[in-house]
Symmetry: C2
Subunit: 706 residues, 2 copies
């Protein structure tokens, strides 16, 4: 898409001059009757052409028998026909030169091989014709400014659709209705809502990019069942961040059952959740854990912004001890740093006749629930350089006396100087009037404790750093990979790659498969010996490893024993040699791996070594490659490295060298031929002594891309 | 409290014939004016006597100058005075024979030593006079049936208070208003609401017991900042369970900050969260993790009950794929088993012309959002023996067409036979009409996804088993404890107790502090030697342990080395002997410990041994003692025992013996003199070989009660 095309496409998407409703029904009860009815109801000013060969008019609007019969140009068509006729209609749209087509039908990628073939066909038609294809399996597109309510979703039967700054991009067609309904009830307004369905051509990322410069859109609300265009999503998120437009996403797949359902119901291929969450975080998408947060956070984050220089810390004021304590408890449980009242602020407020206690909660108490008291405390705290965000938890006065506790917040916010701390309101009781006052003043007001604290936690989280390019892969590595056959590489071959990346291995002797054992072995005993074979990926299980070899005789015996064991374990295995290494004990062990997630691409993972770390899933994952700084953060996030940080008197380990190894290894992701790579275990030595790679595995792509 | 007293007290608490408002103000703006105003507004039919020496009447009600001046008897007094005059008024109530007194003032246990002395005084007055004292720091008592709205909480300024089945017991005075306001807005009604404040005399448990047989109360809603009467709370919960009245509690203290705040703001002593949660679960209190769940779950659990014989499994029907998938995803993430459509049900429904897919979600789809389709599917599934609870997630039709998707649920529920599966409704959009229809039909309807799934998870959780008494503590153990001085016991002395409980130790030789080393040592080398001394609680750090002793000479040298090390580590330490044991390596290690939680009393904890298990907090805790069956469940809950269960080819360990050891050790809690006991490490041997106690520690109470 060129820069010139964007405004045109955006207009065809959200405010077409002519829309065709292909397959519009005249029966009011039918789903396919809805788009026309909604367009009329919501005052769409463009031209509407229902395409229906069986009727002369529908709801008073003249029809045409086919797309080809439409006079003049068509910007947008919503095809409401079943799968096969929909394909025919799409071809007609291509001939007609329609810019944007959305398709309702199911029976595509989610419906087996035949459906997949249909979807490929639809994508090819759209691509060849330069059509922006939304769907299939799309409940349509809605844009409030133009009254373009072109959807089959029943939620848009609402008498009016509130205009506002939130753009909804959802892979589920029903959820756009849920988000509209729930948001509207709270006074939230929407710019554009799109049901993306199967995303045959354009996904959430691509459509998000199209909407980036839409002046009406100030925040994005994403409901995801999968990720089909990770690269575009990353570029969209980066663009949104540059424009100060928050992107909040809720994604199904917290559980295995959820992931399976995502597959069954939209034809999505769903990967590991850790990789997806790491990706979203890396590109700067706010991932909501709760659906309620998805509803509240986009608007709240577009209104409450942390000015530069303010600390990432929350201060809680309350008129109710129990309520305030609850907010602090939940914020802290989500890792938000809690600020209190500075000594200076306490002294100043005390001098104004407002005594406040010393705990972390700034509790004005029921007695302090007066305009002047609240106003003085809020005024003081929003300007205090120690305040990050100010959360005001208001008790019963929020329900019956907004003038006592809500009005001073609103006034303080309005008159706060540039750079003041943002304010968030949380009325404890059911308090629609207070929420409306906060809403009108542009102050995020929450009705739900958990969504309030999760949104504040998102606001307090540091944005991802700039994605500085990591060092390139050394040429020697690329050249070595050129020589590798596709598939799983031997430890010896893999180890060379890792050595070229700067990872030390124990001193090693590689014997050819038929070499005699040398008389003098230039290594320090004890040794470890392993068979080298492409047919023995799990050497321990094959008996192809011997540890603790004390002398040359034990080495000879050990090699003989390994060969016998491997013969019985994998008869006919190909022996490529014997790897002999100095045996090495680190102060601790780690695992470093690169994988390619089917949804979000290459990720690097680091974890503590050993079976317990595996059981406890104590790992950190990020999109690969990572910089050294990111690698340090990953290592710091591993609880199981506590002993290596000196926990309980344990000798410290060289975790800086481990971070360097993570960064170095992560660069392997830059070579598309590397499907997987794993250093496991990595022995962590004393500070300054580095790390040692004890075993290595690389798998290259079956079809070398050279 | 005798059985005879309960109805009288309950009446004095909730429907007194005469209530005195001591310190009632005549200024409408004052908090102390509220109780009289609320009692008048809500039509309280009893006699109200404001006590105020400065006015002849308030709001038209004649006053008296003091409690003593009240003609006739007084059942209930709400003392609205500051701390010191409140004590005087309490004395007057005692003289007058008032049955129930609630007190508003703060300045008691939460306010330092002086306040604590005041509180002790108040408790003594109440106890001596047989007064049921609510508070201090109580915003009062409300009972809807009698219009007894005797509170200072501003939320009760609502024009009416809905009557219903939920009793609220809150340690926070402001939160009763929050719960009322939020519940009422949803059409929930309340029986009684009590603000318990500092609980000088009666706590949540005690007051709950008083309300157990209140016919108006069908569920309990608890807001806790601490637990002050664990035993009474346990008895209350047990009583509620017997009567089928669910008890749901939300407790502040998920974070350290929250625990500190609980301390600062109600004078609560807060213990470890794991112990408290284990206690609540054990006694059958449903702990809500989300505040929203506290609002919804009491009523929902009193309406949706799992009939005997139904599986603990949730089946989800939806009219919207995305919404249904979201519900299943979140249920499964909380460990709820998901049911699908049985083959029989699928065949029957298909024969009725209702084709349904094969995934775990029973998705009737938008096309199936018709009365007849929904009705047939719900009818079939509530009767299916494979259904536990049926959750119906309804899309946009819930907002605009309740007759299509909600009406059939309501009708199916009404006509469902005895023993049918309970139904829960979750409209995806904002759908007040649908929620009201569900509410009126007695079907729990949720507006919040997270509260819906958490409530269903609580419903699906098996209730605690009957608290079968564990085996008593062997007499030999009690006798041995008789001989112990208070304080930390030596490993030798502690080990004897554990041996008497049936825990094997490695073969051991105990040498007196001045004994010469015997010529022949009747143990299998290698050995471990440790100094026995009450002054060396951390033997490793004192150099008072030697491992891997290969022969008698090394033993002699080791003993000498330990003595020298201990001399320099703790000069003047008392040497009681030398413990010599066969060195033993298990297949894995565990830790078992007994502690006394300050809130909920004795608990037993088991965990994997070693530093990683400690870092990952991989432990299971329950109130002690536990039965063998409970101990087995605890052991099964430890992820770190996966290797001992054979994970990745690791040799299995004798986890049954470990469970026996947990049950045996837990019985030490039966002796009140045992403050702490720990077996750490416990070596787990091969199946059939048991476990071996490698180190043992007991701490007895400083003031022996035996």
């Amino acid at each position: 898409m060129t820069a010139r095309q964007v405004p045109e496409r955006l207009e065809a998407l959200t405010a077409p001059r002519t829309v065709a409703l292909v397959g519009a029904s005249s029966s009011p009860g039918k789903i396919t009757a809805r788009p026309l009815s909604f367009l009329l109801r919501h005052g769409f000013q463009g031209r509407i052409v229902p395409v229906n060969p069986g009727r002369a008019e529908i709801m008073g609007v003249p029809t045409v028998p086919s797309v080809a019969d439409i006079a003049g140009s068509v910007d947008h068509a919503y095809i409401l026909l079943d799968a096969d006729p929909a394909l025919t209609a799409l071809e007609q749209c291509a001939e007609k030169g329609v810019a944007v087509v959305s398709m309702l039908a199911d029976g595509f990628a989610e419906a087996g091989p035949e459906g997949l073939a249909r979807q490929d066909r639809a994508a090819a038609i759209a691509r060849d014709a330069g059509i922006l294809l939304i769907g299939p399996n799309s409940t349509g597109v809605v844009s409030t400014a133009s009254g373009f309510v072109c959807t089959t979703n029943a939620a848009f039967a609402a008498p009016s659709i509130a205009r506002g700054g939130t753009a909804v991009l959802s892979q589920s067609g029903s959820v756009i209705g849920t988000l509209l309904s729930r948001g509207q009830e709270r006074g939230h307004g929407f710019s554009t809502l799109v049901s993306l369905g199967n995303e045959a051509c354009v996904g959430v990322g691509g459509l998000g990019q199209l909407l980036l410069d839409d002046p009406k859109t100030r925040a994005f609300q994403l409901f995801l069942e999968t990720i089909r265009d990770a690269e575009a999503l990353g570029a969209f998120a980066e663009g949104a961040r540059q424009r100060g437009k928050p992107v909040v996403a809720y994604m199904i797949g917290a559980s295995e059952e959820g992931r399976q359902l995502a597959v069954s119901h939209t034809g999505a291929l769903t990967g590991g959740r850790a990789a997806v969450s790491a990706f979203l975080r890396e590109v700067g998408v706010h991932e909501a854990q709760q659906f309620e947060t998805l509803i509240e956070a986009p608007r709240a984050l577009s209104r409450a912004r942390l000015p530069a220089g303010r600390p990432r810390r929350a201060t809680v004021i309350s008129t109710t001890g129990g309520g305030g304590a609850m907010v602090i408890d939940q914020l802290a449980a989500r890792g938000v740093e809690i600020g209190g009242l500075s000594d200076a602020a306490r002294a100043e407020l005390s001098a104004q006749g407002i005594p406040l206690g010393h705990g972390k909660l700034v509790d004005v108490t029921l007695a302090g629930t007066k305009y002047d008291t609240m106003r003085a405390v809020v005024d003081r705290l929003v300007c205090d350089p120690e305040t990050g965000v100010l959360i005001v938890a208001v008790g019963s006065s929020a329900q019956f006396n907004p003038e006592l506790a809500i009005a001073p917040i609103v006034d303080a916010a309005r008159e706060a100087p540039e750079g003041a701390a943002p304010i968030v309101g949380f009325p404890l009781p059911h308090a629609p009037e207070s929420l409306a006052l906060l809403e009108a003043a542009g102050i995020p007001g929450f009705r739900n404790l958990e969504a309030c604290v999760e949104t504040v936690a998102l606001l307090m989280r540091a944005p991802p750093g700039p994605r500085s390019p990591s060092a390139p892969l050394p040429v020697a590595v690329t050249r070595h990979i050129d020589t590798l056959p596709p598939g799983v590489q031997s430890e010896a071959a893999s180890g060379i790659v890792f050595e070229q990346l700067g990872l030390a291995r124990p001193r090693t002797l590689l014997l050819g498969s038929t070499d005699p054992l040398p008389e003098a072995i230039d290594l320090v005993f004890p040794l470890v010996a392993k068979l080298v074979s492409p047919d023995l990926p799990h050497k321990s299980e094959a008996g192809a490893v011997v540890l603790g070899i004390a002398n040359r005789e034990e080495l000879a015996a050990g090699i003989a024993r390994m060969k016998a064991s491997a013969d019985s374990h994998a008869p006919g295995y190909r022996l490529k040699g014997v790897l002999v290494q100095e045996m090495c004990h680190g102060l601790g062990e780690a695992i470093i791996g690169i994988t390619r997630d089917p949804l979000v691409g290459p990720v690097v993972t680091v974890g503590a070594g050993g079976v317990l770390a595996e059981i406890y899933r104590d790992t950190a994952t990020r999109p690969a490659p990572v910089t050294l700084e990111a690698a340090r953060e990953m290592v710091a996030a591993i609880d199981g490295f506590a002993p290596l940080r000196g926990y309980r008197g344990h000798p410290e380990g060289d975790l800086e060298a481990l971070a360097q190894a993570v960064a170095a290894l992560s660069r392997l992701a830059l070579d598309p031929r590397v499907e997987e790579a794993e250093a496991n275990p990595v022995a962590v030595l004393a500070p300054g002594s580095g790390v040692l790679l004890l075993d290595a595995l690389i798998r290259t792509a079956q079809r070398a891309s050279g």
